[in-house]
């Protein structure tokens, strides 16, 4: 289908262009926050959008990786690259454990289990010594990447974050458009059928879960370097809910949807920060509207519109 292929190149080009221009147009830290959450949402979308598994505990991976990166960099003197690796690895291991437990049930039970296990991570973060409890880990040094790139420079940091995001996006893209991704979609559409075709569904689910958790961890580690802070907010279930919203609003199971969703939700949070609890109310209201009237999300609607235009009028 040439039309869809063009759309994909167009989308990718727009994304890259926007990524390169952004730090000159908006506040770099804001742009970096968007990128971190965009990566987080893309990772989440791999699970919900393509495998049909609703994890309500993804904040556990974002947050724990943030803590590990912050701790290793600040207290153990790791270089930022190594710290990021440590954080991501931690999220991967955690993803393996939580995923291994959670895939024993499916549907809403899966959601409730991931939520519960993420709550364990939250309480651990609150009580363990190295996380700093309510204060979190503050003043994390950004350091020098690979011994040459000074991350204290906002522009250098920004391009590093952009590179991390593009890498994560590429991984998700490759996963979706591989035979592995096709099996994931088959599981989403009809799990018993995938089983009857001889696929080891549990292994595919677990692999998707670990991949998603790892990338969420990469986003979390990067985020802790950007803000030089790891805090309880990132492990709280509110964050798990937020990533669901980003993905849903942008478009479940679309490649660019989570990025659009993350941009909108982060922007919204930024502008409404002064209005206290109204942020929560509006977030909730968007959820309700999305579920009731707008289930395809923004990118999903655009794709559906384009498809209806390109479809032959008289079959």
């Amino acid at each position: 289908m040439p039309a869809r292929g063009n759309g994909r190149w167009l989308g990718g080009g727009l994304l890259l262009a926007a990524g390169l221009v952004a730090p000159y147009v908006v506040y770099p830290v804001f742009a970096m926050k968007v990128l971190c959450f965009a990566l987080f949402a893309c990772a989440f979308n791999l699970l919900l959008g393509y495998t049909g598994l609703l994890s309500f505990g993804h904040a556990a991976f974002l947050g724990s990786a943030g803590y590990v990166t912050a701790y290793t960099v600040k207290s153990l003197g790791f270089s930022p690259g190594l710290g990021l690796l440590a954080g991501t690895a931690c999220a991967a291991v955690l993803g393996l454990v939580i995923g291994w437990l959670a895939i024993r049930r499916s549907g809403i039970y899966f959601a409730m289990i991931t939520l519960g296990l993420a709550q364990v991570i939250y309480f651990l973060s609150l009580q363990l010594e190295f996380t700093g409890g309510e204060d979190g880990i503050q003043g994390v040094p950004r350091g020098v990447l690979f011994g040459v790139l000074p991350l204290d420079n906002p522009l250098v940091m920004y391009h590093f974050v952009l590179a991390v995001f593009l890498f994560g996006f590429w991984v998700v893209y490759r996963a979706i458009h591989s035979p592995f991704g096709q099996v994931l979609k088959a599981i989403r559409e009809n799990e018993p059928r995938a089983v009857s075709l001889g696929y080891d569904v549990h292994r595919y689910k677990l692999l998707a879960f670990v991949l998603s958790a790892t990338l969420a961890g990469l986003a979390g580690g990067t985020k802790s370097l950007v803000f030089q802070l790891a805090s309880l907010t990132d492990v709280h279930w509110h964050t798990s809910g937020e990533v669901v919203l980003m993905t849903l609003l942008g478009g479940l199971g679309t490649e660019f949807g989570p990025v659009v969703g993350a941009l909108l939700v982060v922007t919204l949070n930024n502008y409404l920060a002064g209005f206290g609890s109204w942020v929560t109310v509006i977030t909730g209201a968007i959820f309700v509207v999305c579920v009731l009237a707008f289930r395809r999300g923004i990118v999903g609607e655009i794709l559906a519109f384009a498809r209806s235009r390109s479809a032959p009028k008289d079959p």
Binding site: L54, R105, A111, I282
Partner: protein, 295 residues
């Protein structure tokens, strides 16, 4: 004998009582979730917010209208149950044909809206609700001091739980309800108005949550986020018990409350996570839950 495993017996029994109280709340809330899930196939994430609303409606009734505790115990579930009916009619009804996950997401959104609105109106600090006159004070049992209100909470919860169990398992109405869970189309063919039944069931489940909220109001501070962490624990309770059986929900809820209370005595650091750890263990041994059927 004034010590159990090196713990003063008063502290031990005190925590046991708190555990029983929390367990009663878990039981009522997970019962409501199970009833709603049975017929609607929706996991009601708003449950915690509705528990909070129950407490708040009681508090507002007392403050603005002078409605006393006993009236609130009846009125608050009614009012909150009615809001549930409205929610079912306006929103949930549109989702029955879709994946169950959308129901979870919608009710999650609603929970955020409700919580945000109350937080905007009343702030985050707790409001206190007085213990009704009749239930003030306590009884010295010789080995421990028993506050009457707390005993009342346990008794009232058990009565409501077993009342619900009786209605569902032993009456005609309950038979319809169970039939609707099993096969709604067939039930409708027999001339039962299933959509109305579904609406009322949701209202009833929500009313149960509100009832728990009113019971909780004099014990805990009434505040907008009192339900948000609770609902996550109740989800774990539901996973542990499995939603197949009403009786199972009650037993699991009470049991876990007690276990949590005892953990507070012996290893306080773990009390916040013990329910989730048990959930993980149960998943390893019996993935369908203690009383559940493999779906």
């Amino acid at each position: 004998m004034s010590e159990v495993f090196g713990i003063p017996i008063q502290a031990f029994l005190g925590q046991l009582l708190i555990g029983l109280i929390n367990g009663s709340f878990y039981a009522i809330l997970s019962l409501g979730l199970a009833v709603i899930f049975g017929l609607l196939n929706i996991i009601n994430f708003t449950h915690g917010a509705q528990y909070m609303m129950g407490a708040f409606v009681a508090w507002m009734g007392l403050k603005y209208l002078g409605i006393n505790y006993w009236a609130a115990l009846l009125l608050s579930p009614l009012v909150v149950g009615l809001t549930g009916v409205v929610i079912e009619r306006l929103c949930l009804r549109r989702l029955y044909q879709l994946d169950h996950l959308y129901g979870l997401l919608l009710t999650f959104g609603l929970a955020l809206v409700v919580e945000g609105l109350f937080r905007q109106g009343y702030g985050i600090s707790g409001l206190s609700y007085p213990v009704p006159k009749l239930l003030q004070g306590g009884e010295n049992l010789g080995f421990m001091y028993l506050p009457i209100y707390r005993a009342w909470v346990v008794v009232a919860s058990l009565v409501v739980c077993f009342g619900t169990w009786y209605v569902i398992e032993r009456t005609k109405l309950g038979a319809y309800l169970r039939a609707g869970t099993e096969n709604p189309r067939l039930l409708q063919a027999f001339g039962i108005n299933v959509p109305v039944m579904v609406t009322l069931t949701y209202g009833f489940g929500v009313a149960l949550a509100a009832f728990a909220g009113v019971l909780a109001a004099p014990i805990y501070q009434v505040n907008p986020v009192m339900g948000s962490n609770l609902v996550i624990v109740v989800f774990a309770v539901v996973v542990i018990g499995g939603m197949g059986s009403i009786f199972g929900s009650i037993v699991t809820g009470l049991g876990l409350g007690v276990v949590e209370g005892l953990t507070k005595v012996f290893y306080p650091e773990a009390s916040a996570v013990v329910v989730f750890v048990i959930m993980a263990l149960v998943l390893l041994v019996r993935p369908a839950g203690l009383f559940g059927r493999e779906a």
